[in-house]
Every structure is written in structure tokens, then in C-alpha cells.
Symmetry: C3
Subunit: 353 residues, 3 copies
């Protein structure tokens, strides 16, 4: 009689090159979209209005890119990070075919790196995860690495391999949805006059608003993604744990930072890529999240007079307004009130469109 | 490089006659409807059941009128009330074409009045806001007035103009959806035997039940409407503010009062109009909302043997059951436990239908 | 002028054989499904994915059986249990035609038993409630009994009658959806390799994970079901009541136990029947729910080489992990940390399929 409960994979269970089919495909619905708006307050017009989306060439409103990320990510947790000590980073994250309500997402991962810690208690697992829709189109393709406990410290680890990861997604790798008709993109309806040309490299934008985290909100968001990492849900166990309380899923902070960034980036209608991300400090219920962004680069897209990209760095803080643009110190060390440092690329209409 | 963040409009930014196109059109979905039921507990059969709605002549279940109000209202906040000190009142609110899941709502406002305060620190802005669907049909048309801060107290204000507002919406202005087949309205399925004829002018109804407010619930509701007024979401800032805590969106109290009113008014299946409303005192998480109603008038509708209207006054309280019908004192002053005083009109089936 | 508020039925209002048509039909939508996932974290693939459901012979993903139970149950509260002292038990609960988003559910009940308490202050009401869809197909058929207060203790009660209730639903009474194509059931996608043959009578499964209850979550769930029992929502009244706080709807604990049971029972894709259930102790916000299951019986289904059933007993606890399988003592008495004891039957694919 086999043990029926999934214990999750430990570091020594992973093999370089291993392919993992993740369970529980998920049909994204209008219900998920409404709940995502309810939990984040996101206001990007493209995801809010079928009429707006149709005008610019989508059949109907596509699902928020970050919601797609969370649903694809959620598939992988039971196999990859159930025994994770820490979610260390993201790289090479590219958003693909737009997702619409009714699409069913699934995910598969490949183990692309393994490195045991020197203390032999845990090791870093690098996976490339690919989310696809029911037509087998790629909707998301990204690398993440997590520190995973060993089941048995005495067991020898496989030879280490650290993958060579790009620091940024190349603009030629950006997926631009076909058929966009940017001449019908109405910036007034989208919420701000600023087009791609209005942003300058080095520009900093304080997103001003703050959003306080509640236990119910972050748990509902994380359950919605069917992300079952234990630390987010169990106060009884966590009261004896590292922080004494439930840790908030770092992805929820990404959602809030993106939603807050509407105030200053309302026309950044699509996330193209995430170059890297770091959850600099943990978040808990009661914290109020603020955010600011720096324009790292203004990227013209070959052959596109209608669209341009920005590379952004968005930093989120807790209980710390962002008018002074808080961030890591000169040594790269994050103060305790900085919680997220995200490097990503977004798509905007050009003024000339 | 222009400032990218929307600072909101200050009193001196408004001009009499100014037309404002509000951003972020919104497609209302079955997800919004489910979340609205989850957050309010509303039980009106028309909004709960496609089969019930079809029987009485709707194609499918229309969206709750108060949810339509909140979504239309939410569009206007970034332009009208981001710098508001207080939301002072509503008038002449008429509900128009029924909204169904899949409809996309947008809103435009006209500035119809301006009056600077004598202290010159702020002024009252009167706007008429009109919500329309994707077929340009009016779904909501209402006036509200808010007190808005000045950016610069020294700046001279435009000449004052206070609009002439009707105290009630005239019955001839009620929008009765065409094609209603009230002979198929099943009061048993709707939850109460009482038809229009069963209500008498002056009758008072204690709605009995109470609903306790939670931070997560009011924030989720307000985010769902994409109402981004800062005071509802940011505990870090509000802890230093007027009340020391997050203020609950007054509209959420209207929703709860309407949902509670099912117990006594189950057949009031459509809100026709809001004549006026006053948020008499602020509400906070932890407060328990109760409500009672008085029938201000019993209104026969010309040419309709199947339908009648009631003019109602619904008063909501906090931590105060309503068996004794609490309200303002003889001088019109509200005790601290009265939080809402709403004057509105509803549609009911007639017994003879 | 009749009293408009529904006072609910008291013990002496019920008559043996009485038929009750419950109000407020409800169209179940994708919004309800999303919110159910958000509130419970349920991960059963059949309810999560249209593609998965289609592969095994459903048109699209059916609604979670326990959500169907709650919605049908919610219809009955205003008539049956508004004046209930306690919800005592369930029996003979059979799930019928699968429910899909867009289906409209209604419910009717028959009073099948009445028994006054010896103290004459209350009595037990037994009802059989049947939920049907818009095609009049039965989706749920169950018996529950509740202790209901008397309005007037002096009033003589009707002659007592205690119905003869089966301890289990007979396998021949299980409703197996027609057209299932289990050869296309992918256990890897469903989340676990274990088929019906892998479970043995007497086997115990600790579901490991814990979920902490929040006021907002249980109230939102219970409001979603339009279950208006007062004790769940009103802190102002309950602060003076039996427990000093809001009591959590017992059905929400069933939902959490079922969702937690995914870890060990991922292929138990359909609930066939509930033989009996007991809410052994009350639950409150802040409690963390754990669960474990025992396989009471392994049931072959006549003529089905593709499907088998398990009779399960799932016990849920609060603030008590289940590695030691806590339950009632030898005398049948429940310790205070056991909150649910549920006897039910589930459907699984056979390995030979």
C-alpha cells in the first residue's frame, strides 16, 4: 500500500535534464479575472474591457499577464517548491500568446541546473517552466531557481551545474501579439496621455498609492492560483516557524506593484518579459505596499512605428512611501522595507501610432 | 519630461460646463456578479437566476443595480474625487437600460456646479455623471457633489454656481425595462408573498439581520469597482489620518443596506432611482451594519396594472439593531450610530399582475 | 398591513408531509467556481479544467460537488433553519446530474420527521431536500435534521415521527454520469498515480496540509451560497451569544476538508454520496483546519471495469495536525479539537481503465 500523500520532491530527487509534467490543468475564466481585479485593484484598460481590447485588435479582453504568470507558476509548486526554503530568483521570462477566458493552461518544467549547498543540507534547483494553452501555444516561458531541502543529507548529490542565464530578454525575443491596431488605442480611455516617446531612460516614477495586505486577501489570491506552498496558509504551523506568521506569496507583491504602477504607467498595456526579480524581504499581513519605477531603457522595436518597449525596474516597499525612491545601498544590500526588485519589459503605444 | 503620475483634479482645475471622459471602460462579467453576491450576500432572485429573469422578460439575469452604480462611480473617482475631502451627496440618480454580463460600461461627467468654501481651502464640485454601455445606451445618470481641496488657496476661484437639483426623480422619468411579463413573476420563488399593494405609506420595516464589516471585504469590493480613492486601502497612511484607520467606501454600506432589505422587500426587484443619499457617519472594519426602511410613498405607474413603485427611505446603522427605527433627531442631527440615510425608488410586481 | 420580515419557521410551524418550495433560484456561474477555488484552494482537475473534463466525457468542467451542495443547502436556510439551535446531521445524500456553469438550481423540501424535545422548548425537524436544475433533473437529494426552537412552548406539538434513515447510500443508488470515457483520464494530470485498486480498506491517509480560517473567507463563502443563517455574520449580536463570536458555517469546514483531501485522494474526482456527517465542535476565525481520511470500504461497481468507489471517513481537526489520526474516544466522544466526522463515497478511475 503506497503512501498516498505527495511529499514533494527533495533536492536529491531532481536530475539534470529531467522533464516534469505538472498536474491540474486550469481553465482561466471571467471569474478568475474578476477576483484578480478584486484582490489587486488592477485598472489596465486592456484587461478590463472587451470593447477596448477589440478596438486594438484582440478578440476580447486578454487575461492580465501577471495572472497568467501566477496560474502557470501555481501548477509547478507541488513538484518544484513544496520543500523549498526560498524562492531565489527568476530569469528569461517571456510572455507568449495572449490568454483569454476559456483557455486552459498547463505547465511543464525541465531541470536545467542543480547545485548543492556547501553545508549539504539543501541545494539550488534551476527549472525552466513552460506554460501552454489548449492549442499547445506557449503562453509563458521562464526560468526560476529555488533552494530545496535534502531528504537525506548523507546522500551524495549529483554533479553541480549552474545554467548560463541571460540578464535580459532580448527585444527580438519579445512576443508581439499579431494584428494589433494601435491607431485605435485610445490613451484617454486607458487613463493617461503618455505614450512610449514620453518616457526617458533614467526617469523615475513614484506610483504614490499604497495597498495594505490582509491575510484573507493574500490567501485567497494564492489559493486562486492553486499554489499550495504551505507557508502561506497555516498560522498554526507558522506560529512556530521562522517568522511566527504566514508568509505572503511573493507573486502577490508583484501583482500589487504592477497594479500600483498604473498610476504613471497606464499605457504599459502588456508585460513582455521579466528579466529578473528578487523578493528582497518577506511580507506579512498588515504591511502596506508602495512602489516606484525607474525606466532602465527605452527600446525601439524593429519595424514598428506603432509600438515601443520600456525596460523598467519596479521596486516595492512596505510601510515606506516611495517619493524618495528607496532601494538597495551602494553595496547592493536591501534595507528591510524594500520587498521587491523587479526588472521587466512592457509594451506601450507610440505617439505616432 | 512630464510628471507621469495622476495628481487628480483640484477645485480650481474644474470649470463650469466642463466635459470629462473617464478612463478604463469595464466589461461586467459573471465573475463580478459572483463576487458581489459573495461580498454582500444579496439574494434578489432577478439577479440570482437566469431562469427567473427569463420568465419575467429579461434575456438573462441583469446585473444588480447597485453593482452597476458602483462600477459607473468607480470610473469617475480618478478625475472627480481623488482630492475630495468628503462625498457630500447624490441626487437625480436614474437607472436606465439593464446591464448584463458581457456589457462594457464607460462614464462621462459634466461639471454642473462649483462653489468655493468661505475659507477658500476647498470648494464643492457638482457633477452629472452618465454611464453608458457599448451600444451607447444610458445605464445610469446621476448627480453627485463632493468637497474638493484647492491646490493653491491664493488662486481666485471661478464664479460660484449651485445647480437646481430635484428632490426626487419624477415617476414619469423612471425607466421601466420594456417587455416585462409580470404574469410570470413568481413571488414564492422571489422569497416573499408581498406585492406592491401590500405596502402602505408610512410603513416601517426592520430588516432584522446584521452584517459585520471586515477590512478584506470592503477593500475587495472597492477594488472590484476600480474605485481608487486612497482612504480605503492604505492603513499606513490612514494610521496618521483623520480616523486613524481605513475609511469604508460609503457605497459598500449602500450595498449592504440593499442586501439586508431583502428581508422585507424581496419583491423590490429593481432600483428605479436614488433621490438622495447621505453618509451620515463613517464606517470602519468591525462595525456591524443593520438597516430599516420606511415607505415614503406608494406610487402607481401610469398605464401599468402590472407594476408599481415605492419610494423608500432606508436607514443603516452600525452596532445598533433597528427594531426601534433609529434616525436623525428633531433637529435633523444624526446620532453617531446612524451611517446612511438613503431616499430611493424601487419597482415591484402588483398583486393584480 | 402584514409583517414583511420573514421570521422563519418555528418547530410548531412544520407539519409531517409538508412540501416547501424554497425561494431564490440560483444560476451557478464561472464566477462562483473561481470564488470557490479562491476560498478553498481546491485542486481537483475535473473541476479545474474544461480540457480535462472534456477528455473524460463531460462537455466542460462540472461544478465541484460540494459547491453544489452548498448552493442547494443555501436555498433551504430561510425556511428550515433560520430558528435552528443546531444542525444535527445529514443522511442519504446522493449527488445526481452534474452541474455546469449556466445551470440554474432550485430546491424543495419535504418534512419527513418531527420530534419535540422533552423540555418542550424545541424539536427536531427532519427534511428531505431535493435540488434540481432548470431541466428538472435532480442534482442533489439529501436528508438533514435540525433542532428548531418553538415560538410558543405551551403549544402542543404534533405527534412525533422519526424517519427510518439508511446508514449508507447503497452503491446501486450511486449516480454515475453517463458517457464517461475513463480511458482518457490522465492520472498524472490529475495529480497522483493512485487508482481505485491502490486503496485498501482500513487505510489511513494524513492529508498533511493545514488551512487557517479568516472571518472574511468564511463569511464570503457563506454569503456566496446565499445561506443567511444569522450566526455566521453578525459579530455585534454574537459577541453576546453562546460563543462570543461568529460561528463558521459547518459546510465551509466540509469544503476545506475535501480540498485538503486532494493530497492523498487526487483521483477521487466525484463525490457520489454523503452517508452521514457530524459537526463535532464549532469552528471560529483563527482556527487552522487539518484533515485525515480512513478508507471504510472499497466498493466495486457492478458492470464497471473502469470505475470504482471508496467509502471514506474524513475527520477534520482544528489546530491539531493529523499524523496521529485523532478521532472520537472509545465511548464515541469527540475531543474538542475534532470538528468534522464525515462518512461519504467517492468515485475513482480503475487502474485497468
Amino acid at each position: 500500500m503506497a503512501i498516498k500523500t505527495n511529499p514533494g520532491n527533495y533536492f536529491e530527487d531532481f536530475q539534470l535534464g529531467q522533464e516534469i509534467v505538472h498536474a491540474v490543468p486550469r481553465t482561466v475564466t471571467a471569474g478568475d479575472v474578476a477576483l484578480y481585479i478584486g484582490l489587486t485593484g488592477s485598472r489596465f484598460a486592456l484587461h478590463s474591457s472587451d470593447a477596448f481590447a477589440q478596438a486594438v485588435g484582440y478578440g476580447k479582453a486578454p487575461v492580465d499577464d501577471i495572472l497568467v504568470f501566477h496560474i502557470a507558476f501555481g501548477r509547478t509548486v507541488a513538484d518544484i517548491s513544496l520543500n523549498a526554503v526560498a524562492n531565489l530568483g527568476y530569469a528569461q521570462c517571456k510572455f507568449g500568446a495572449p490568454v483569454h477566458p476559456g483557455d486552459t493552461l498547463n505547465a511543464r518544467s525541465t531541470v536545467i541546473g542543480l547545485k548543492e549547498n556547501s553545508n549539504r543540507e539543501a541545494g539550488i534547483v534551476y527549472v525552466r517552466s513552460v506554460g501552454r494553452n489548449q492549442r499547445d501555444e506557449i503562453v509563458l516561458d521562464y526560468v526560476r531557481w529555488v533552494m530545496v531541502r535534502k531528504r537525506d543529507q548523507a546522500k551524495p548529490a549529483p554533479e553541480g551545474h549552474v545554467p548560463d542565464l541571460a540578464g535580459t530578454v532580448a527585444p527580438l525575443d519579445f512576443y508581439i501579439p499579431p494584428g494589433l491596431q494601435m491607431e485605435h488605442y485610445d490613451r484617454t480611455l486607458a487613463g493617461a496621455p503618455h505614450a512610449w516617446e514620453d518616457y526617458a531612460k533614467g526617469e523615475r516614477i513614484d506610483h504614490v498609492d499604497g495597498m495594505t495586505l490582509e491575510e484573507s486577501d493574500h490567501m485567497t489570491a494564492t489559493r486562486l492560483y492553486q499554489n499550495n506552498a504551505k507557508v502561506h496558509f497555516n498560522q498554526h504551523a507558522e506560529s512556530k516557524g521562522r517568522f511566527g506568521r504566514r508568509l505572503i506569496y511573493g507573486g502577490h507583491i508583484i501583482s500589487l506593484a504592477r497594479a500600483l504602477s498604473f498610476n504613471g504607467l497606464a499605457n504599459a498595456f502588456r508585460v513582455l518579459a521579466i528579466n529578473g526579480g528578487r523578493h528582497a524581504n518577506p511580507c506579512f499581513a498588515g504591511d502596506t505596499i508602495y512602489a516606484w519605477s525607474e525606466v532602465l531603457d527605452v527600446i525601439a522595436l524593429p519595424g514598428r512605428a506603432d509600438l515601443g518597449a520600456l525596460r523598467l525596474r519596479t521596486i516595492a516597499t512596505k510601510d515606506q512611501p516611495c517619493a524618495d525612491f528607496p532601494g538597495p545601498d551602494a553595496a547592493g544590500k536591501y534595507p528591510p522595507d524594500v520587498v521587491l526588485d523587479l526588472d521587466y519589459a512592457v509594451l506601450l503605444p507610440r505617439r505616432t501610432a
